[in-house]
């Protein structure tokens, strides 16, 4: 199982959209995908029509009792090949409950290892702030995907994210490869084109060579609770995520173990 975390210490940059769209394309290609929602806001959980407010068990359960079989917390979605480990509101209290309790940054890593033979890919939708959950995601993943909205303020969030990454890399003493993904790109606006130019200048080595365009269909897909690849496979947003997936796969290619779940 390959584990990708989708993270940025800024909200609203397209993390959940990226997670859902990549999962949609992976599932369509026959891979078994597990999505993990570790954002206490539970956007990903709501996307798949589970309510973060009243689920009985979630990733939070795992932090409360690590003896729980993580697979028992996984729920199906309406989409073949996509399962979800949902979030609940309780996640927001984790940092207060745990503080920097020794070893609590490895909970998700262990849970995913226990399910390694059940999925081809695990995609972690991260919260927009540094804390025990973000550390967990970065300790568990093989690759970090950092969506960056192509507007001026976004660069600050990216800097912060990369700083966190440096610190975690030092602590893990393993290099964590990452890909910066420009999102919500609108070629007609100066903010978009200028931000992309800056990204190319500053982060050339780790920047994806294409962009995810603004596409109103993402909002529509979210409203319907359907990954856009399943709703409109020919939309330009999906075509862009197909391209992104190809890039990510070429960086660590893996063949599906089974056609369907």
């Amino acid at each position: 199982m390959k584990v990708w975390a989708i993270a940025n210490q800024k909200g609203g940059v397209g993390k959940t959209t990226t997670a859902v769209s990549l999962a949609g394309v992976l599932a369509q290609r026959g891979y078994r995908v597990l999505m993990l929602d570790i954002d206490p806001q539970g956007s990903l959980t709501s996307y798949f029509r589970y309510s973060p407010d009243d689920l009985e068990s979630s990733i939070f359960t795992l932090f409360q009792n690590q003896a729980v079989n993580p697979y028992s917390l996984v729920r199906p979605t309406r989409f073949e090949g996509i399962h979800i480990l949902p979030a609940t509101m309780g996640l927001a209290t984790l940092d207060r409950q745990l503080g920097a309790k020794s070893g609590m940054g490895l909970v998700i890593n262990r849970a995913l290892k226990a399910m390694a033979d059940k999925y081809d890919y695990a995609l972690i939708d991260c919260p927009p702030m540094l804390g025990v959950l973000m550390v967990n995601a970065m300790a568990a993943c093989d690759h970090l995907v950092i969506p960056v909205q192509t507007e001026f303020l976004a660069l600050k969030g990216l800097e912060r994210m990369l700083k966190t990454l440096t610190m975690i890399t030092r602590s893990r003493s393993v290099r964590l490869p990452y890909t910066i993904v420009p999102t919500m790109f609108d070629r007609r606006t100066r903010a978009s084109t200028e931000t992309l130019r800056l990204l190319r200048t500053r982060y050339a080595d780790d920047l994806w060579n294409s962009v995810i365009p603004v596409d109103t269909q993402f909002r529509e897909a979210s409203r319907m609770g359907v990954p856009l690849p399943m709703l409109l496979p020919q939309s330009r947003g999906v075509i862009a995520y197909e391209r992104l997936l190809n890039t990510l796969l070429s960086q660590g290619a893996k063949q599906p173990q089974a056609a369907v779940i």
């Binding site: 079989n69 697979y71 996984v74 199906p76 399962h83 070893g103 849970a111 025990v132 300790a139 779940i261």
Partner: protein, 238 residues
């Protein structure tokens, strides 16, 4: 470096040290691995225990099946009518009527939709036929599966009549029927040897067998749909 610069530098370093201490502590590997994620502690287990009791009380004939279920695991061929295949199948556990945990092969579902219990009742039918719900422009016949599977004269049926908390519909038969359920449970990936298949299906043909470890009654979707169609003739309802 000015005093102001030094101050900022110091704060920056402190900040970084604090973060480093925080992250290092979180990522500290325990000396001995005491955590064993493979220990099966299921969230829905208390309910699953109840179903075993349910099966026993509702049909004495089944008691033997349930009680010998564990030994069947060590002798999988003994009286088993499991399809000869080592295929791994996914089963979804779900809870109905607050106390009954049933299971269904995940692949046989046409979808799972959230449902708040709002319905158009169609009077004059069996009490397990709750009525119609519109889903994506299509009428779904909603089945109270608990009332369907518990015999009419059985005492646990009284408990079913109490306040219900429907939350989901499991769609079957291309979405024509929706099985009302209170709660979705875990998804189990099991080989055929993890299920005690029923040999004699003349009574309760909807019951394919029992998932041994969870003691969950496994629905035979085809027989179930067939029985539903007999009970709710399609042409009577728009």
């Amino acid at each position: 470096m000015s005093t102001e610069d030094k101050k900022q530098f110091a704060t920056g370093v402190e900040h970084e040290v604090a973060l480093k201490v925080y992250i290092d502590a979180l990522l500290l590997e325990p000396e001995e691995t005491t955590v064993a994620p493979e220990v099966e502690v299921s969230v829905v287990k208390p309910v699953e225990q109840k179903i075993a009791t349910e099966i026993k009380t509702e049909a004495p004939l089944e008691t033997a099946v349930v009680e010998t279920a564990m030994s069947a695991e060590t002798h999988p061929t003994n009286e088993s009518v499991a399809p000869v295949s080592d295929e791994i199948v996914e089963y979804l556990l779900f809870k109905v009527a607050g106390f009954l945990t049933l299971s269904v092969p995940l692949a046989r579902l046409n979808g799972i939709v959230k449902w708040d219990g709002e319905i158009t009742p169609i009077p004059g039918h069996a009490d397990w036929f709750l009525g119609l719900v519109s889903n994506r422009g299509r009428q779904v016949k909603v089945i109270d599966i608990a009332k369907f599977v518990i015999p009419e004269n059985h005492k646990s049926r009284q408990a079913v009549a109490a306040e219900r908390q429907f939350k989901h519909l499991l769609l079957v038969d291309g979405g024509k029927f929706g099985l009302a359920c209170d709660e979705l449970g875990q998804v189990l990936k099991l080989g055929t040897d993890k299920i005690r298949w029923r040999e004699n299906r003349s009574s309760r043909p909807w019951l394919a067998g029992t998932i041994i470890e969870q003691m969950s009654a496994l629905l035979d979707v085809d027989s179930f749909i067939e029985m539903l169609k007999e009970g709710v003739p399609l042409d009577e309802i728009p």
